[in-house]
Each structure stands twice: as structure tokens, then as C-alpha cells.
């Protein structure tokens, strides 16, 4: 190819790709989100919205940390969004953006959502806290809801689920099902929420099996299937035979399945990913809260605050308990569930000591939300130290 023909080929290609890029850039983020979603309800409600008449539908946007197909954390949030659409139909119009990184990029996404007219915005990961605060400060007329965070503003509130209740119930099953008296947790990032889950898992296991020991590995990410696999494998190689995860994919369950061990589904029902290994799934049910938040916004009764729902409000449940779990163990779990529902049972009730022997909760003292929110220690029975020190 001579130089001049090559140059003209390259020039034509460059100009046409520039033209295509400009055409694509003309489409808004919402258009980009809709085909990615492939969710008919969203398209249907968007089409039905103008027909409702009375007032314009409330525009709601969700920012997801991972892909909807992770089968875990984000999948649960999306199920909540779908429940919201089903319940409120033409009163709302929802969109979402997947795989929003926990960085400065998140701020751009939130500003984009505001610019598109969304007045209720959900950020479904801890790391969106600072970007959301910034965007909330600049947009006082928009309501922001931040999941699993701890900072609020007049127009931003936090919501969370008591995932530790699910972890405790899983621990009860684990303590009864383990044969090696060693169980494991694949941890994501060492924040109080995850440490609390590990501790609750341990407390649950110890309630049926005082001899049990807990090993922990940290992936240092919420979502990294190959690393989660490696972490789970090393726990199994170290003797753990029932695994819990705090990460967002089904890799840990699949690794347990591969090795003939047991594991729990987390955030969503993961039975299908490991039929032989699956004992139960601790699921997040976000639907009820999303419906309440949307109704608040529609009725004008939205206020800031911190919401922390659990089994009592129907936000956490341990589902799909396998037939391998003996009836008496299942009965114990049901008893715990009933106790959590009517408030008669408290997981974090003293005496509780950390794994250096220091007492952290005196006898018969029930921990309050402040204590629970700042847990940075491992309880007795967990091996190792919390990364980053105490």
C-alpha cells in the first residue's frame, strides 16, 4: 500500500469514527442505561407514564456498584427497584446505571442523574458517600438516599439492612453443619459492617457449637470473582468446611461446590449457583424500603435520618434453607427469626469478649446502634486481627 493511499484510508476512518462518536455522544445517559437494563418493566412504565394524566411520574435513579447480573448485592437492589415499579406503576419512572466506580466518576454520574430530572436518587454502595454529599449540597431540591453509609444531610439520608442478622442465622446453621469445627469467611473490605457480619456469624455458630473457630481472608474488593475463588480455596485448604461471604458474586459458593464443602448465598438467593453446597441464603430485600422512600417523596413526607431495617421490617431473611440441614437446626433458626421479628431476641447481648480476651459488652447489656456501627474488633473464636489495627 503506497503512503498516499494509506493516509487517505486512515483519514477516512478517523473522520467516520469521529462522526459516529459524536452521534453516540448525542444520546443521553438514560438511553445508554435502558438498553443495558433490558428490563421491560422500565420501558413499559416509561411509555405508560404520559398516559397516567394526574401528575408527572416521580423520576427515580439508581447507581449500582456492580453489574445487575452479579447474582448478589446489585441483583438484590435491582429486584428492589423492580418491586418498586410493580407496586407504584405509573407513578414512578426508574432508571439505573451499573458498575459505577467508587471514585470521582461517581460524582459525575450523580450530577448527570440530577441533570436528567431525577428527584430521588439512590446510591447503593458505601463508597458513594462523599460524591453524594457534594452533589446533594449543590442540589437542595433533590432527595438522596445512601446505602450503608453514615453521613447525612438535610436532603440526604442513609439506609441500611441489618445484614448481621442474616449472618447470625447463617452462623447457627454453620455451627451445626461443620464437621471440622472450622468455618470461614471471605471478607470484602474491613469496614465495621463486614467485621460485624463476621462477628455475628461467629456468635451464631458458637450458640450451637462453642468449639467452633472462624478463619477470615480479605479480598479487599467488593467484587472480584477470581480473587474470591482463590480466597475461598485457601480457606478450604486451611480446613474450613462451611463458608460465608461478604463479597458480591457467587464465586465463593461455586468454589465450595467444586470442593464438596458448604457455603451460604449472600445478598440474593444463590441456590442455582451451587446446588450441592448451598445451605441457605441471607438475602437483602430492598423492595419494602424503596417503596416507602418513593411514597415519602411522592407525598412530600420525606425527611432525613438514618434507617436501619432488619428481619423485623422484612428487609433481611434467611431463605432457601437446604434439606441437608436437620430439622432441629432449622427449628433453632426459626426461633431466632421469630425472636428478631418481635424484638424479644438480641444478637448482641453481653457478655461478649473480643479475641484478645477483653470484655466489650457486659453481661445482659444489649448493644445499641451506635455500638454496632463502630465495631472494629473480632469476637473470641475468630482467628487473626482486623486489618489496619484497632
Amino acid at each position: 500500500m503506497t503512503t498516499s493511499t494509506r493516509r487517505s484510508v486512515l483519514r477516512t476512518t478517523a473522520w467516520s469514527s469521529l462522526a459516529i462518536a459524536a452521534a453516540l455522544a448525542g444520546c443521553t445517559k438514560k438511553e445508554e442505561a435502558a438498553p443495558v437494563a433490558a428490563s421491560e418493566p422500565a420501558a413499559a412504565s416509561a411509555a405508560a407514564a404520559p398516559a397516567s394524566g394526574a401528575s408527572a411520574p416521580l423520576k427515580i435513579a439508581f447507581a449500582y456498584l456492580g453489574p445487575v447480573g452479579d447474582g448478589g448485592w446489585t441483583f438484590a437492589h435491582d429486584n428492589g427497584r423492580k418491586a418498586l415499579e410493580k407496586e407504584l406503576g405509573s407513578q414512578v419512572q426508574t432508571t439505573f446505571v451499573e458498575s459505577v466506580p467508587e471514585s470521582a466518576d461517581a460524582e459525575r454520574v450523580f450530577r448527570d442523574m440530577v441533570a436528567q430530572g431525577n428527584t430521588l436518587i439512590f446510591g447503593t454502595s458505601f463508597g458513594y458517600m462523599e460524591p453524594m454529599l457534594k452533589v446533594a449540597a449543590d442540589n437542595k431540591g433533590v432527595h438522596f438516599e445512601h446505602a450503608t453509609g453514615y453521613k447525612t444531610a438535610d436532603n440526604m439520608r442513609t439506609y441500611d439492612n441489618r445484614t448481621y442478622e442474616g449472618a447470625y442465622m447463617a452462623g447457627v446453621i454453620a455451627g451445626g453443619m461443620t464437621k471440622s469445627n472450622t468455618i470461614g469467611v471471605v471478607g470484602s473490605i474491613p469496614i465495621p459492617e463486614v467485621i460485624r457480619n463476621i462477628d455475628s456469624y461467629t456468635l451464631g455458630a458458637q450458640s450451637v457449637n462453642p468449639k467452633v473457630k472462624v478463619k477470615v481472608v480479605w479480598v479487599n474488593e467488593w467484587f472480584n470473582p477470581p480473587k474470591e475463588t482463590e480466597g475461598a480455596q485457601s480457606l478450604i485448604d486451611g480446613g474450613a468446611d462451611v463458608l460465608l461471604q461478604n463479597t458480591d458474586s457467587s464465586a465463593v459458593l461455586q468454589t465450595a461446590e467444586k470442593n464438596g464443602k458448604y457455603a451460604f448465598g449472600w445478598d440474593s438467593d444463590m441456590t442455582a449457583y451451587g446446588p450441592k453446597a448451598h445451605l441457605a441464603s441471607s438475602v437483602n430485600i430492598w423492595g419494602p424500603y424503596y417503596i416507602k422512600a418513593a411514597k415519602d417523596a411522592i407525598n412530600g413526607t420525606w425527611t432525613t435520618g438514618k434507617v436501619w431495617w432488619g428481619v423485623k421490617e422484612g428487609a433481611i431473611d434467611l431463605v432457601s434453607i437446604s434439606d441437608k440441614v436437620p430439622a432441629d437446626l432449622k427449628a433453632k433458626v426459626d426461633k431466632v427469626k421469630a425472636g428478631l421479628k418481635d424484638g424479644s431476641f438480641s444478637i448482641w447481648k453481653g457478655p461478649i469478649a473480643d479475641n484478645t480476651g477483653k470484655e466489650v459488652l457486659k453481661k445482659d447489656v444489649v448493644a445499641d446502634d451506635g455500638f454496632l456501627g463502630g465495631i472494629k474488633f473480632f469476637v473470641k473464636g475468630v482467628e487473626g486481627q482486623v486489618p489496619g489495627g484497632k
Binding site: G69, D70, S99, E230, S234, G238, G239, P387
Partner: protein, 306 residues
Amino acid sequence: MDTYALLLAATLNAGTVLAIAGLGLLINERSGIVNLGAEGMMLVAAIAGFATAVQTGSDWLAFGAGALAGALMAGAFGVLVIWLNTNQYATGLALSLFGNGFSAFVGIKYTQEHLAARPHFSVPLLGDIPFIGPALFRQHPMVYLTIAFMGGLVWFLYRSRAGLVLRAVGESPESAHALGYPVRRIRLIAVMVGGALCGVAGAYISVVYTPLWVEGMVAGKGWIALALTTFATWRPSRVLLGAYLFGGVTMLQFHLQGEGVAISSQLLTMLPYLATIAVLVLISRNPVWIRANMPASLGKPFFPGS
């Protein structure tokens, strides 16, 4: 004792992905082309392999599909770099980014899918030997194929005529061209074979290593494989060594975490990458040695008749 046997087994498993990709990139670089698109190729091959495994249920067809996907992408790269003489590094990066996005797009439908339970493998008699059995002989066949392939590649490069021609093209394409060899065609074949191997590595990740599909699941292994070929001074046996070293340190850091060792988990996670950098620095200290081992025309464009 048992944990060490299992650690060894896990090392072999973890290192195989890097080894296959590294050997493919070695063939690539021996012909003088640097293909930075390894990550992108592995991702596209991962989704191709996973989709095939979901539709047909056959692992080997999945590997084949991955190889095909890798070869096609490498072929596109090859045409751009060899005939249009675009900058190899920039084109490779573009391929990587493209692979990232394209695989995510194609894979949208497959994120909820899962494969049938993975079978267990064990070499008939050898797998039952007390310590060595679980450590070495209970792996997926691909692990052993990789080692065999490395042996075959050594023979090919250093003992066969075709390998000699390949090396000649990598050292001095002008001389090879003067001797009448079709330099550009040889380079394209090398690039496509390299891409096919990266593809097999990618399919291995999504079908055997972590049997599911999510965006970006290769998580940087392509880049590590690229570093490996330099780390290994372009020798097949050293590529394997480097791959197992990296895989071994990765599994070791999880093992240490599980044992409750009092080193921060974040530091332990950095360990494999630090080890790779340390070895690369040690190797690079001697520029003469590098020049002696590196294919002389690596990264440079070739213009026949100029």
C-alpha cells in the same frame, strides 16, 4: 503437611492461566511484535468460551471457541500493525480497551448463567500417592497440557527449522526478507497463534478457574502475562517458572491471611505484584544480558523494500 500439598496444587492451578497466556505472548514477541492487547483478547475469549460452554456443555469446545476469538482479534491487530505499520504499543492498548468493552457488551445476557458442576480430575495411580498425589496429580488436564506444550515449544524454537525462521524474523526481519522469507506473513501467523493461546487462557478462566461470567473477570492477568515474558527473558521454561511463582505467591498470601498472620491483608495482596516487580528490576540491571536475550526487532515496524 496437607495444607502445603493443597497450596502446591492451588499454585499449579493459578499459574496455568498465566503460563498459557505467557507462552502465547512469547511466540508473539519472538517474531518481533509486542501485543499489549492480551487483556482484551483474554476477556473476549473468556466470554466466547463461557457462552460456548453454556450452549453446548462441552469444555473443549469452549477452549476452541476461546482460541478462535483470540486468534481473530489478534488477526485484526496483526493486519493493522504489520501491513499498515501502526504503532504496536498504541494499537495493542486500543485492542485491550476494545476487548474490555466488547466482552462486557456481549456478555450482558450471560451474567446470570452458570455451568454444570465441574468434574474432578485425578491421574489414575499417581493421584493417590500420599503427599505428591494431591499436590501434583489432581489437576485439570489443561495444566499438564501446558507443561507438555512448553516442552513442545522449546523443541520448536530451538530444534526445528520453522522455529529458527521465526527467531530470525524476530532478530532481523531485514535479513530474513533478503533471504526470501515472507516476513510479514510469518509475523501474522505468530501473532494469531499467540492470540489463540491467550484465548485459550481466557476461556480457561471463565470455564474452569471461576466458572461464571462477569465484566472484567480477567482482572489484570493479561497484563501480568505480558510482564512475564520479559521477566522470563523470552524463554519458555522461565515463563512457566514465573507463572507458577506469581500464582504461588497469590495463593500464599491468602493462606497467610487464613492463618491469622499479623501482616495487613492489603500488604499481602500486593505481594505477588511486588515479587514480579522485584524480579523484573533484578533482571533489568544487566543491559547487555537483556540485549542478548531480547528479540532485536521487538516493537519496531518493518518496511520491506525500504
